[in-house]
């Protein structure tokens, strides 16, 4: 187990270096001059453009910039935004918001998705099962922005239960509606995956044994069926956590949540290389950590899987 974790941690190093390198160069080869664009339609002052580039280190060669950036990264220095703020501060403001939003969405899709999938799987072929299929199909087919606007209209504009946008991005109650929207698509997938898995396992030998032993139904389903059926679901959820963190740009825009998606969108617009790279570095770390946890969870769920 320990060796497995160590090996996985070591494998993360090339992945981490590769992704940060790619992003670093990709942002910098975007066309257009971000410094000149600060003057808008007006002609920029060459003396100031030069001074600005010097301050941001943009006058050095791309390789030199890359070396400097990576060196700074390992000392925890993520560089500066165009406005002169520390990138680490910008990340520090946006990340807690998105972690809240993503975890809330994650909890919703996990709890509701597994519950719906379990019921549908146990009542296979019944009307509950068919209803679930229809409901999840609906969720999958509606694009997230449409769902966002529909929910905003129903729950805020018409019913007045919540405000249309999030007034305080750190308030969990206010983040609930965007979290439902954000988690809805994955919820449908989780429900379907769980159902399929349950349907398969319910007929397996160990289930027959458990029932024959006379175990109570709660234990049969909880300990034996559900636990064994969770492996594909966990795999999906692990990668989904990363997607929820980085892919919430649309939802954050609709509900005016000041999270990572929002900050990334601004940074890409302004072509702030340091900010974009900084966020991606953090997201890569989240992805890597999530996939490691998923791998470790396999062993917990299925005793047949053992890591040497």
């Amino acid at each position: 187990m320990g060796r497995f974790v160590a090996r996985r941690l070591l494998q993360m190093i090339p992945v981490f270096l590769g992704t940060t390198t790619l992003i670093f160069f990709m942002v910098r080869v975007l066309p257009g001059d971000p410094v000149a664009a600060m003057w808008g339609d007006k002609a920029p002052d060459p003396a100031q453009v030069a001074a600005f580039k010097h301050r941001m280190g943009l006058d050095k060669s791309m390789i030199q910039q890359y070396v400097d950036y990576m060196a700074n990264l390992f000392t925890g220095n993520f560089g500066q935004t165009m406005a002169g703020r520390k990138v680490i501060d910008v990340i520090g403001e946006a990340l807690p918001v998105t972690v809240r939003l993503a975890l809330l969405a994650f909890a919703i899709e996990l709890v509701l998705g597994v519950a719906i999938g379990l019921i549908a799987g146990l009542k296979r072929g019944k009307s509950v099962d068919k209803g679930t299929l229809l409901f999840t199909l609906l969720l999958i087919s509606i694009p997230v922005p449409v769902l966002g606007f529909i929910f905003q209209n129903i729950f805020a504009t018409n019913l007045g239960w919540v405000t249309p946008t999030v007034q305080d991005s750190m308030n969990l109650g206010q983040l609930l509606l965007p979290a439902v929207v954000l988690g809805s698509l994955s919820l449908a997938y989780v429900a379907r995956l769980t159902r399929t898995s349950i349907v398969e396992n319910v007929k397996s030998d160990y289930m027959r044994t458990a029932v024959a032993k006379g175990l109570p139904k709660r234990k049969v389903i909880g300990t034996h069926l559900l636990r064994n059926s969770m492996i594909p679901v966990i795999t999906f959820l692990g990668t989904d956590l990363g997607a929820l963190m980085g892919g919430a740009i649309v939802t954050e825009g609709i509900f005016n949540v000041k999270g990572v998606g929002n900050a990334l969108y601004h940074a890409i617009n302004l072509k702030e290389g340091a900010t974009v790279s900084g966020f991606v570095v953090v997201l890569v770390l989240v992805f890597l950590a999530a996939s490691l946890i998923v791998d470790l969870l396999y062993a917990v769920l299925d005793p047949r899987i053992r890591y040497a």
Partner: protein, 541 residues
């Protein structure tokens, strides 16, 4: 003509509503204008400032509109008619349009209690102009004698002060310009010319995060990416004393989110309704909808520096192309009334605006369009590319304009989208395109000179056309040397007439402010900068 009349009507309409509202307020009557609570704040849709909040370092709306409430310069523009009015200045006199004697009103203080003196202005301007301080607005000081000393094109500055600025005493100073600029006081209304307290110069970065100004509102807090909170400054000496308790600038990523908040009273005044709501916002908001003119124009410019377009005779081609465009229909349908057709190179509503300078060339006439294009020798290769930035919502109208040109003249016109604003600007200023490009101008100050001198003069910073007309330059220089602002306006109208001959750019339409406000506020009107009359907004009690 009709456009101008309509605008004046709109302004008159807004003013009278405002008067009625105030009248009701004082008598405590009901109706649209209930009583207001002078200590309550209202919220405004904003975007995160891109630079620290220093007056000479904000050229974008996010930071600019916050700073213009925290600071007040010598003069500003009356929101109701765009006329210059004195604020900190008691008077600005000149006899030769080159040396300006400034007398300050006494009694003004900064929010930290220190007095606003002549030195506060001179120090602030010297700071803003100095290349070492890297202030984005420093070119605004380039008219002042000695600017090159503190802001050389290359190398380090030879001094820290501009010799054109001399302080006599606490309330008097003189500004000597390098040349004659009769309308210089108009420029003084720009945010870059604000005074700064002494403390600023010791810690510009700190003051950029927690600005201390002399304006109607004082800074309370800046919660990055979320909101900037201000409150009314009790000792404000300006003519526009706040009638509310402060402004909360709430940052929004999308106009859609802001509009949803506005409809549910979670946002009080917004900037511009989203394009998706243009068709419905007037019925959604009723009498709380706003549709007023802005001092901004959209043009199609031409690459006169390319051999294909440098021949003076090609002006006929450009005039012809202009006549092939059905401005009325496009502004009504594609742009959903968010613009009004242009008939000059100056936007309507600014001082010196004269409707119809473009004459018949801005009137839709397909027959004449074809004739003119033929007379001018035709469009090179019979095809035209209009370069524009794809991230600015321009695609729809560029396509419509191209359809007009294609149908009415047979010229193969296509849009040439560049990924974003930066890329399009790089192509335009780098002279790597050949044909036409989207361009435009938003007023820095509401005077026609700003739309003409800064754009069409030979070598002007924003002359992206490579346009050079000795006649225009001479008329502009004459206008700059005029004895009064009225003469300047008339002089620039003459210069503008030259553009109708040479046609370096096709004027398309003027921008409008399409906005609205919540049911919690009243007496909201917008000026030609597209800003609300901040201090006059009443919060209902």
């Amino acid at each position: 003509m009709s456009a101008a009349t309509r605008v004046r009507w709109a302004v008159v309409g807004v003013t009278s509503v405002a008067l009625v509202a105030t009248g009701c307020g004082s008598s405590g009557g009901g109706g649209a204008g209930g009583s207001t609570n002078a200590s309550a704040t209202f919220s405004y849709q904003s975007s995160e400032p891109q630079n620290p909040l220093q007056p000479s370092n904000a050229n974008e709306t996010g930071g600019g509109r916050i700073l213009q409430n925290l600071f007040k310069g010598l003069v500003d523009y009356d929101p109701s008619n765009g006329q210059l009015r004195n604020q900190v200045a008691k008077s600005i006199d000149t006899s030769d349009s080159q040396t300006f004697n400034v007398t300050l009103n006494s009694g003004w203080t900064f929010h930290d209690g220190t007095p606003v003196t002549a030195q506060s202005f001179v120090d602030a301007w010297n700071f803003g102009a100095n290349v070492k301080n890297n202030q984005i607005n420093s070119s605004w000081f380039s008219d002042i004698d000695g600017y090159a000393d503190v802001h050389p094109n290359q190398g380090t500055p030879v001094g820290a002060t501009m010799k054109g600025l001399t302080v006599q005493d606490d309330t008097h100073f003189t500004i000597k310009l390098a040349g004659k600029v009769s309308y210089f006081p108009y420029k003084l209304g720009y945010i870059a010319f604000s005074p700064l307290p002494q403390g600023f110069f010791k810690d510009p970065d700190g003051y950029g995060q927690k600005p201390v100004g002399n304006g109607p509102y004082q800074f309370v807090s800046w919660d990055h990416n979320s909101q900037v909170v201000t409150k009314t400054f009790a000792n404000y000496q300006g003519v526009d004393k706040p009638k509310n308790g402060g402004i909360v600038f709430k940052m929004y990523t999308t106009a859609e989110a802001a509009y949803a908040d506005l409809q549910s009273n979670n946002l009080d005044v917004m900037d511009q309704v989203p394009p998706s709501a243009l068709a419905t916002y007037k019925s959604d908001l009723g009498d709380r909808a706003i549709d007023s003119p802005q001092g901004a124009i959209q043009n199609i410019g031409f690459t006169l520096y390319q051999p294909e377009w440098s021949n003076p005779n090609t002006a006929k081609v450009r005039q012809g192309l202009s006549m092939a465009i059905d401005r009325d229909t496009i502004t009504k349908t594609v742009l959903q009334g968010s613009r009004s057709p242009a008939s000059a190179w100056t936007a309507e509503g600014v001082a010196g605006y004269k409707a119809g300078t473009c004459g018949q060339y801005c009137t839709f006439n397909p027959t004449m369009a074809k004739q003119l294009i033929q007379q001018g020798g035709g469009v090179p290769g019979n095809s035209l590319k209009i370069t524009y930035n794809a991230d600015g919502g321009h695609k729809e109208w560029v396509d419509a304009v191209c359809n007009n040109i294609r149908q009415n003249t047979g010229v193969d016109c296509v849009g040439d989208p560049k990924t974003d604003f930066k890329t399009a600007r790089a192509a335009i200023t780098g002279h790597t395109i050949n044909g036409a490009f989207r361009t435009g101008w938003v007023q820095d100050y509401p005077l026609n000179a700003n739309f003409l001198a800064d754009v069409y003069r030979t070598g002007a910073a924003s002359n992206d056309f490579g346009y050079s007309s000795p006649q225009f330059d001479q008329l502009a220089t004459q206008a700059d040397q005029a004895a009064s602002i009225a003469d300047t306006e008339a002089g620039y109208q003459k210069a503008e007439a030259v553009l109708a001959q040479d046609f370096p750019a096709i004027p398309l339409w003027y921008y409008r402010t399409n906005s609205g406000y919540s049911t919690k506020v009243q007496n909201v009107a917008f000026d030609s900068f597209g800003n609300p009359n901040w201090t006059q907004v009443g919060v209902k009690s």
